[in-house]
Symmetry: C2
Subunit: 405 residues, 2 copies
């Protein structure tokens, strides 16, 4: 009788790893902040009002007027690869078209590289607070995760990496966000960049360098990424999502040429190819020479928003809160007093003040306690004139916390 009952509710048997996954926090937050009237500093979305809509729309019309190849399966665009080589040169990186691999955004680049490098139960080395997309990519491999701390001024703790490697850690890769760290907002200090690459070479461990924000800088141009220091051990990940439009889903990998055919196998298995239309729209946009001006506008627009947020934080946030001025990227990381659990704060902020952010724990890859009293604020996706109001609301929630529960 019992057996019959059990049989009746038995469902499709899933792969083992699915039993240990944390639910993806960002997707549920995405639903919450879609509510009308909410003022959101939550997601890492670029500013919709700064998209070059008209130029991209014209690019689409133009290319479809010439022929229909944008709608067909095609080999990855050689033209776009050449254009990316030129972009990389602006970033201080010398590379060749044969080292460029097109992907559906930076997230897919990471997924492809993990597939290429990581065995089941393999090792990964990264920061204890980092982009949650890394966790999502590696969790199906049930990996052993080594973490190091991050200095909020200078970036990843390189000495700790070396110690781990000296004492036997052998990760399939080291994951690093060199500029405009998500969520910490840091850009890595030069000497650390040099040292990290030396270590990679010495221990023969590849680095996946996630450079989604390298072109998004506010003071002087970013320093060259790790890939400028080494072409053999650094697998560079770039993206058009933060500099053009994420809805097109185009990014790239710069990798040693001998890895490209293997990446191609993995990519074909996952989705055959990047949307031909998206490739061609971006390539046409770049051909017209529109990107440099667009990047200038984007940096100006984001700098205004960053500065508006920093000013409002100075003015309204409690004295015990700490943060830094990011030179790159679209995030400010805020450390609150230990007693503030930002998960709880999030709930209250959304319910009572209609304002949202991302609680720090979302970015904890090893469940460490540190980020539970931290929050990530995004400044790119909120009009400058609403930023002060949002920070005032958040400050009100903080003032009444936890007493006002």
């Amino acid at each position: 009788m019992l057996e019959q009952k059990e049989n009746r509710v038995e469902k499709i048997s899933l792969a083992n790893w699915t039993q240990v996954i944390k639910p993806p926090a960002l997707r549920s937050i995405h639903s919450i902040i879609s509510r009308p009237g909410i003022l959101s500093f939550a997601l890492g979305q670029p500013a919709s009002d700064l998209f070059p809509v008209e130029k991209l729309s014209k690019a689409a019309a133009k290319l479809l007027a010439i022929n229909s190849s944008g709608l067909q399966y095609e080999l990855p665009s050689q033209r776009l690869k050449s254009q990316i080589v030129e972009l990389m040169a602006l970033r201080g990186v010398a590379c060749e078209k044969e080292q460029i691999f097109l992907t559906a955004g930076a997230q897919q680049a990471m997924a492809l590289l993990a597939r290429l490098l990581l065995n089941n139960s393999g090792q990964v080395l990264t920061e204890e607070v980092t982009y949650e997309g890394l966790y999502m990519v590696i969790s199906p491999y049930l990996p052993n995760i080594w973490t190091v701390s991050t200095d909020l001024e200078s970036g990843m703790n390189i000495e700790a990496i070396e110690q781990l490697l000296q004492t036997g850690a052998r990760p399939a890769f080291i994951y690093s966000i060199t500029d405009g760290h998500n969520p910490l907002g840091i850009s890595m200090r030069s000497d650390k960049r040099v040292r990290l690459v030396e270590i990679a070479r010495q221990y023969r461990i590849p680095i996946i360098e996630d450079d989604a924000y390298g072109f998004v800088y506010y003071e002087s141009a970013s320093e060259p990424p790790l890939r400028a220091l080494d072409e053999e051990w650094v697998l560079y990940v770039g993206s058009f999502s933060k500099i053009l439009a994420p809805g097109l889903r185009v990014g790239w990998i710069v990798a040693p040429e001998e890895l490209i055919s293997k990446l191609s196998f993995i990519k074909q298995a996952i989705d055959i190819d990047v949307s031909t239309l998206s490739q061609q729209i971006i390539s046409t946009f770049l051909d017209e020479g529109f990107l440099p001006d667009h990047l200038v506008k984007l940096r100006e627009g984001y700098k205004l928003r960053r500065d508006a947020m920093l000013e409002a934080l100075d003015k309204y946030f409690p004295k015990e809160a700490r943060w830094r001025r990011p030179t790159n990227g679209i995030f400010i990381w805020i450390e609150l007093p230990d007693r503030v659990d930002t998960n709880e704060l999030f709930r209250i902020a959304v319910e009572r003040e209609n304002v949202a952010f991302i609680p720090g724990h979302v970015f904890s890859i090893n469940e460490s306690d540190y980020p539970t009293h931290c929050m990530r604020l995004n400044f790119s996706n909120c009009p400058a004139e609403q930023i002060e109001e949002g920070i005032i609301r958040l400050a009100r929630v903080l003032d009444s916390f936890p007493a006002g529960r």
Copy 2:
């Protein structure tokens, strides 16, 4: 000394599975047939001249004129999911919006489902000759592959499946192409559909049903797919690639609702989401009611090509060659005399006659000998007026084979 040398050439260490992969045959064939002047029956590309370019272009312009959300990260389109529910009803399938999961084409749907269901070294059950994208999807899992034969009139050998399951096979899933089989061109006989679903239920093994060609029929409408017979054990895969435009990369899964959040985790890890622009272009196209007329035109156009190819085969191909008239899809499968190795034939056909097809061995998932004397001909991607010429060229190669080497 030797050690030093070895160190110097040591490269990035890759995941174990990468050492056993076969190179992806279709990509290299894609390069060959891109040569000017070649007449190709090789790839499974839809007809570029039948794409509704103008309507899709207008859809893109229209939606980007309203707002820029097509360029932004967005939650998967609810509107498109509802439209897919309506499409599925035309296919004889009752389902709900909450059971629809959007993907970057059918290939990605398969990759997501494999990730969901398949453990490393897990088991998969399929036909010995089938779509090579399945091999690409499952090979990183180093799976144990069970295969059954296929009857060229009625489809997959269902009795053999049952025998395998009776003697202890426990695959994570059964992969089936019910209509317009790639590469075999068969649609499964009704009684076999019923029996296959019964077996899935009885042994509690999910079926991944790849229905890329269900809407591409030439006589009467296709029979309902397996999903119409069971909503718990059939995971249905659909795609806009063969009925609208593959360059947009949009497909879907119909799955039990409780699996959708897990698929969402996997999808976010792989590439966050389907291109928002692609989703919106398709949704706008469907909103305008353009699909039914387009499908009528597509079927007429493909039927002309199919019939032109069948006629030319009758007229020019050697008497010992065997093939069947496909009622669905875009392929004709040809069995040649045993002595003809179609790999060798391919080389000669391309070099000497500038005509291409896909050698049968590409579709052999378990390296069986059977398909080495077979070829797959595609009729969708060649203008009707060139088909006869292509078949004449192929027949010439066959006539001189192998004597004319």
